[in-house]
């Protein structure tokens, strides 16, 4: 399949799932505000504004959600082991090579670090993100 055809297929696929994806992203966020989530994502190196968070949740973003953004979103929401995250991965066709028990342990670690000062939280989250994805935010592959 040519690049243009692949792109068309992927765009059509995203068009079909972006509504359900948005609903699950909203569930992942829980009681956390969109501003806090956007701030946490920015601390991790993502370029996602509060309005982008809002638009993703409403299924209004045209560009497909990347695995990096999806994992970062769940990490900031301490919801890597949540059923909604597993559903999201399935919808988007992604797979993380992590057992649910490990994801639960990571969520527990993330909740534990909430009591730390913000700079410590950011360092720990960045390292956990590396362990999850194998990507540094300085790597050229890092999706912004």
């Amino acid at each position: 399949m040519r690049v243009a055809e692949r792109d068309t297929v992927q765009a059509a696929r995203w068009e079909a799932i972006r509504g359900p994806v948005g609903g699950r992203l909203r569930r992942l966020r829980g009681a956390r505000s969109q501003a806090v989530l956007a701030g946490d994502l920015e601390d991790l190196g993502y370029r996602l504004s509060q309005s982008s968070v809002c638009r993703y949740e409403q299924g209004l973003v045209d560009a497909p959600l990347t695995l990096e953004r999806l994992v970062g979103w769940a990490l900031c929401c301490e919801s890597l082991s949540a059923p909604a995250f597993q559903e999201l991965l399935g919808l988007a066709g992604f797979r993380l090579p992590w057992a649910v028990t490990d994801l639960m342990a990571i969520d527990a670690t993330l909740r534990h670090t909430r009591s730390l000062p913000l700079p410590d939280q950011i360092v720990v989250r960045r390292r956990l993100l590396w362990h999850l994805l194998g990507l540094e935010d300085t790597d050229p592959e890092w999706a912004s």
Binding site: A99, D120, R127
Partner: protein
């Protein structure tokens, strides 16, 4: 993800201790009132290199405010992150504590741990966590001095019977069992009692335990 390496941390600790002891012996005698810690940078570097050579990724992290160090064990590997602003002496101690902690981490596919700066431990820290940290600190200080004989011999091993050698005959079996029980009791006391930690590190106790171990080991062999 790459396969997680099985690391023999007690062996790593045992291999790095003689080098730390030699380093300490080579230091000049401190002058009265001197507050600097000569050799601290060398100790920190020695520990960092040893950890790196055994596959532990060591990172110096800027901006850690409450944490002295933390560690992550996962399928991608083992890493420890240490606060970059620590003094050479604190840095060496942070590496030593991290090394001892790795010896206590259960064999799981994912694990994390946190070591806090003095006065920064969270209010929700449990008594068990405080006790574990006390044991880690005492063992790390013994390691820094190259004096592992000041701690229970099998503190970091899952089984105290490991390394006791094969038994020979009924008397040998009895000696081996007794030795195992003594080591287990010593480890258990070390975990529970600060006083025993201090007693175990005292010179007469080190001599006594070494002699008992040698006597019973010789009988058991």
């Amino acid at each position: 993800m790459r396969e997680q390496r099985t690391m023999d941390i007690p062996l790593l600790i045992a291999s790095v201790a003689p080098a730390l002891r030699r380093l300490r012996a080579a230091l000049p005698v401190p002058l009265s009132g001197e507050t600097s810690d000569p050799g601290a940078s060398e100790r920190a570097e020695l520990l960092r290199r040893a950890l790196q050579e055994w596959g532990v990724e060591c990172r110096l992290e800027e901006g850690l405010a409450a944490l002295e160090a933390f560690g992550i064990v996962s399928g991608r590997g083992v890493e420890i992150a240490v606060a970059a602003d620590l003094s050479p002496a604190d840095l060496a101690l942070a590496y030593a504590r991290s090394l001892v902690r790795l010896g206590l981490v259960e064999d799981r596919s994912f694990a994390t741990w946190f070591h806090y700066r003095s006065g920064c431990a969270p209010a929700h820290e449990t008594a068990d966590e405080r006790r574990t940290m006390a044991v880690i600190d005492a063992t790390a200080r013994a390691l820094m001095a190259g004096r592992l004989d000041a701690t229970p011999r099998y503190l970091l091993r899952a089984s105290t019977g490991e390394g006791l050698g094969a038994a020979g005959g009924l008397w040998g079996e009895c000696s081996r069992a007794l030795l195992g029980r003594l080591h287990r009791a010593s480890s258990a006391l070390y975990w529970r009692s600060d006083s025993y930690q201090a007693l175990r590190a005292s010179a007469p106790m080190v001599v006594l335990t070494s002699r008992v171990h040698a006597l019973l080991s010789a009988t058991a062999a």
